[in-house]
Symmetry: C2
């Protein structure tokens, strides 16, 4: 296979998988997924090189795993042993930002940060903000990443208008376009979004941009229980306030992220340990945002918030950033696994209490935060013993599924959750999706250890 | 097959396809698609009966076509000859409107009108408004219907959170849930949306609702050209005014819909024949909507609008309704086909002029209107000669595709556009989607004459 890979991308862009120089590329940020042992790592420069790599791997019976920035939390970019790992680091050009149609066309290796900055030059924004802005467009499309602003703008899925991708047989497919909507046959764009590199390798992405909203106000409201936070979220969203951030943080998580960021909010003693709701409002005109912030404060006060802190812009920004870095904080604190189940928004508090109870049963500490506006709960589970950790996770997933939830709201299935998906997903749906996968990749070339198996 | 169908739904809910009582059910509203000749029409009462019908048809080698309200414009609900036509008219219950999670759970036979009214009782709205509010949830999910408010809220696809459906082998599948977002394997919900009854029959739908916006203002701005309208649309959307309606109407269409609705707008002589932009703004607070309407008027004035008419609420509502009925108006005027190509928003005017030129070449009259905020152009083509009509349509589709468009923005492929999709779609994508279809319906039971073939 090596000569074919060298032919495909050039000798200087192929490295053996056991070369220490590529050790960092053999895993992502998932806590429980060990690094893979790829046969080779390659860096294609364009769609044709990607296609040639896929053909070369397939001819040799090797599998192919795509890698964006490797920030994923589910082991989806961790290669199977013997795989060809395809890094998109060289395909990092923003091909176009079109302010008239409000779209951007980018290569998959472009980071969210770079795209949002380029959009910003035209008064636009790409509002998909998972915690890690170094994540790539290819990786976020493949995981259907969400993040804090999804409550207002929707997740990645809502932004992808078209794709160019290489299929398992090396052929090039184009889907969608610079089109606000399409109803012309099954939506292949949507099928590829969230498919974690198992159906195609994305070589170009067309996304929708939004007008940037220059004005914001951020409030932090400590409540006496997660139940009270959940109730408040429904009211805030129901009032039409359209928050751009609507986050839940339990006391320990709040403490951990503030410590991790060196951030002193100056909350009165005791309040830091409450159950917090963090809401950001954004808009085109400051006076409207201010007026809405007052309405918001009233609603939160009437629903039993212990206080409603109107955060100064600097603290607000730093707190939102600290929340984005929650994963690093809990990782630093020694978390053994993070979970991102999604449940109906109204079930979030019940789920949290059941998850904590499961932790209690198995001696695990469970911290919680989450994208409350989406019912997407992020748990950090501390239990070093693998068996007890597995038992905790099983009960946590079972509790979420029993409440009508799904195994992942935004991090994806990857390797970490493939068995949970198999155990808890609708069996008929899984069977259908396996057949779809088989129809698109009959030889199991693309990321075989990942997702629907 | 008859005994099995009778077993499935009861004798009183099976009628022979040649019974004059069901003649109206054998076609939809597509202008160019002749009625089909189903073997039987059945009215199941629940999911189990739907499954039994599918199994009975499949065992007999008959195909199955679902029918909602039959308002579709592409012949997608027109049965193949010998098919079992499944009407969802009896499955018309709103199972739940949940104001806390802002979701509704409905059977497929529920009309948009009924759902929106039920949501309204909770201060919510289901904002999918194609021109025909008698359309069913099942039918709109299957066509991925859009309509005038999609510019603000997105199309059906953006609203469907979960489905229950019967697959080609009669098994029942559940997808998604009351979940704001999911990233747990390929998105089967999204694959079924827009699949026109060819992958599954939908038996239950979970949709997202939005807070209703009580305040509105509507302006009508005649421009000297479609190009000027297109330019204005980009500016209106780009300014962040988030219109809830943003429609283009050429002069003849404006005249036709006003005549059809008996609506006298009282525009100065000459202006009725201009190229019109109709914009509605909606919001929570009247003073903001008013302020935005002034900003809008300024923008439109600065872009060369001949006038900016601030429509009184009554006329505004009637004009929006008349626009929704544009199809009936052009049908009454004798249109031979309607087309709903979608192009990049900025290409709309160019597409319109090329479409008119194509009409000129083949002696066809071409009227245009469209969901301008989405680049979704609706053409009415008048050319009774079938060959010249076909030649016109070919050139029109070729022009749209050359501009980066797709064959349908919202009406779907159905039978009417199956050959255009085959001719103009990405061949690799079509091949993939055929394989997906084959994997999900190997015997070709579900609506075989429709969509991807
Ligand atoms: C601190 C932190 C906070 C986070 N917060 C959030 C959050 O709030 N919300 C959220 O949704 N996520 C969050 N994430 C995880 C998030 O999913 C990832 O950051 C992102 O989606 C992955 O992008 P990536 O480029 O790093 O992809 P990778 O990790 O490299 O890969 C992810 C998947 O995409 C595939 N892939 C990559 N490129 C391509 C391509 N070109 N074609 C096909 N497949 C490809 C890979 O094979 C893999 O399956 C967080 C991560 C961190 C570290
Ligand atoms: C005056 C007028 C204006 C219109 N304006 C618009 C517009 O602005 N935007 C727009 O998008 N559309 C518009 N339409 C067309 C629109 O697509 C349809 O009104 C609607 O989507 C179809 O709903 P229906 O219940 O009538 O479906 P039908 O016509 O009965 O069926 C449509 C498709 O759905 C399938 N189907 C029906 N029920 C099910 C089910 N339970 N499971 C699986 N498949 C099912 C059918 O097999 C068929 O393929 C307009 C139509 C009219 C008559």
């Amino acid at each position: 296979m090596l000569p074919d890979l060298v032919d495909a991308v050039g000798a200087e862009h192929v490295v053996a998988g056991d070369d220490p120089a590529v050790a960092d590329l053999c895993a992502d940020e998932a806590l429980g997924v060990p690094a893979g042992k790829p046969a080779y790592v390659v860096w294609p420069a364009d769609r044709d090189e990607v296609a040639a790599v896929v053909r070369a791997a397939r001819a040799a019976g090797a599998s192919v795993t795509a890698r964006g920035a490797g920030t994923g939390l589910s082991g989806a970019a961790t290669p199977d042993d013997g795989a060809v790992l395809v890094s998109f680091a060289r395909m990092d050009r923003i091909l176009e930002v079109d302010p008239v149609d409000a779209v951007a066309v980018v290569q998959p290796g472009v980071s969210l940060e770079a795209l949002d900055a380029a959009a910003g030059e035209h008064g636009l924004t790409y509002p998909v903000h998972p915690g890690e802005q170094s994540a790539s467009l290819g990786g976020t499309v493949a995981t259907n990443a969400g993040g804090m602003r999804a409550v207002r703008y929707g997740v990645t899925r809502a932004h992808v208008l078209g794709l160019e991708a290489v299929l398992a047989d090396g052929s090039l497919v184009r889907t969608g376009g610079r089109l606000a909507k399409v109803s012309a046959g099954y939506d292949l764009t949507q099928l590829l979004v969230g498919s974690e590199g198992t159906l195609a390798l994305v070589t170009e992405v067309i996304v929708r941009l939004h007008p940037a909203l220059p004005c914001r106000r951020t409030v932090l409201a400590p409540f006496s229980s997660a139940q009270a936070v959940t109730g408040a979220v429904a009211r805030v969203v129901g009032a039409g306030l359209a928050p751009s951030v609507c986050e839940y943080l339990d006391g320990p998580t709040m403490r951990a992220i503030c410590d991790n960021a060196g951030l002193a909010l100056g909350l009165p003693e005791g309040l830091l340990d409450a159950d917090h709701l963090l809401v950001e409002l954004a808009g085109r005109r400051q006076e409207r945002v201010d007026e809405d912030a007052e309405e918001l404060a009233e609603v939160l006060g009437s629903l039993g918030a212990a206080e409603v802190f109107d955060l100064p812009a600097g603290s607000a920004r730093r707190l939102v950033e600290a929340r984005e870095k929650a994963f690093w904080a809990v990782k630093a604190a020694g978390a053994d696994e993070v979970v991102d189940l999604v449940v109906p928004r109204s079930a979030m508090a019940t789920f949290l209490s059941r998850a904590r109870a499961a932790g209690g049963t198995h001696g695990a500490r469970v911290l919680g935060c989450g994208h409350a506006g989406d019912g997407n709960v992020h748990l950090a589970v501390f239990q070093p013993d693998p068996e007890r950790l597995a038992a905790t996770l099983h009960d946590v997933f079972a509790a979420g599924i029993a409440l009508g939830g799904a195994v992942s709201g935004e991090h994806g299935v990857g390797r970490a959750k493939a068995h949970q998906l198999a155990a808890f997903g609708d069996p008929v749906a899984l069977d259908v999706l396996r057949r779809v996968r088989g129809a698109m990749d009959p030889d199991g070339t693309l990321n075989p250890g990942c997702s629907i198996r």
